[in-house]
Amino acid sequence: MIEVRSLVKRYGPKTVLRGLDFSVTEGEFVALLGPNGAGKTTFLRILSSLSRQSLGEVKIAGFFLPNQSAAVRRRLGVVSHLPLLYGDLSAFENLHFYGRMYGVDGLNARIAEVLDLVGLTARRRDLVRTFSRGMQQRLAIGRAILHDPDVLLLDEPHTGLDQDACTMLDEVLRQVAVRGRTVVMTSHDLSRAQDLASRFDVLTRGRISASIQQSGLAADGLLAFYRQTLEESSQSAKETRPA
């Protein structure tokens, strides 16, 4: 579903992604982990077509970025840590707007369906600026799946949410993902990631340095695996640094 080969991203003289390879099969739920500044957000922005790669190949659902970006965008749903919602419009109106932008048929019925899925039917007529952060994130997920995308990209979706809100969010994510959607999620919250994802990749210094399946982990294994990967990564960095 997602094929990334030798991805390079430069911002002027700074190289953020250095020949990154990444591949996700249909239905997988991948958690992308890594320290700050490793390039997770940059990578996700490229996958979501908001940013253009400097070099390398990106293929999503059979279409290439950046040349076929419209086709890719139609099949993508994106949730970022910013709400991407209009505070002065109601939940219903927000979804209606995005539905029109995505050319969704049978919009009203679909909106009702989605609101039900994220548990916000009761608040459909309320303005989004009256929503708590947790509710906004749930609505954001609703917005992301409105057009029934094949791929879901989540950039640190748990940011700023308290425990209850996180639990509710995870419920929604499980329901949403279980429909066979492919999901890539970046996260700092290892325990939540471990509960949700089927695969864990670690991004350090512009490349994927390690990858492991859920089945390969012990009970508390993700933390250990993550720490170990970071250790190894900074070791090899010290070795390759010019004298």
Binding site: G12, P13, R241
Partner: protein, 232 residues
Amino acid sequence: MTAQPKFLKILNVVTVLFLAAAILMVFLYAPIEAVMGLVQKVFYFHVAAGWTGMLGFFVAFVAGIIYLITHKRIWDIVGLAGVEIGLVFMLICIITGSIWARPIWNTWWTWDPRLTTATIMELVYAAYLMLRQGIEDPDRRARFGAVYAILGFLSVPLTFFSIRIFRTIHPVVIGGSDPNATGSFDMTAKMLQTFMFSLVTFSILFVDVLWHRIRMGKFADQLEQLKMRLLA
């Protein structure tokens, strides 16, 4: 840092020679104008500087378009160089215009279309530099600069016409003289030669300075890359 290419070294010498020759021509060869006297000689530099200013902005306009199409870094450097140089020469033009106006019309400023347009252009390109300053990402900075250089350059003829029509319908005079007569005088043959020579000289000067500035831009880039590699 690579050494200056041979052509550039030759150009440096040529530029200095032409400048010296031009100054000599202006003060020794060209006759003193009957009505205005010595101050009229400012005209030779005033127009040439204005011409070079426009040249700089035109270079930025073209470089902007090419950058948007190719996304090659060098065109951003060229565009910035064009604006910086254009800005300086246009300033010289405006100031010499003021110096010229004072003894002739007893005013530091005439709102005539050309001078006013020159000032507005100066503001446009100062805005260009301020725009670039406010943006971190180099690629975005280059794109925004390119777009604004295009907009700015296209607005110039329209600005000029709007002020020109403004003046002919309402010859409002601030400072007591006809603003349309930018010191009109008939040029004798010698004056014409001096004038053309200064135009050519300033054009050569422009190319020389532009080349140097582009080189500087490339070195700055290399420096940034080296810095990044050290910090990584």
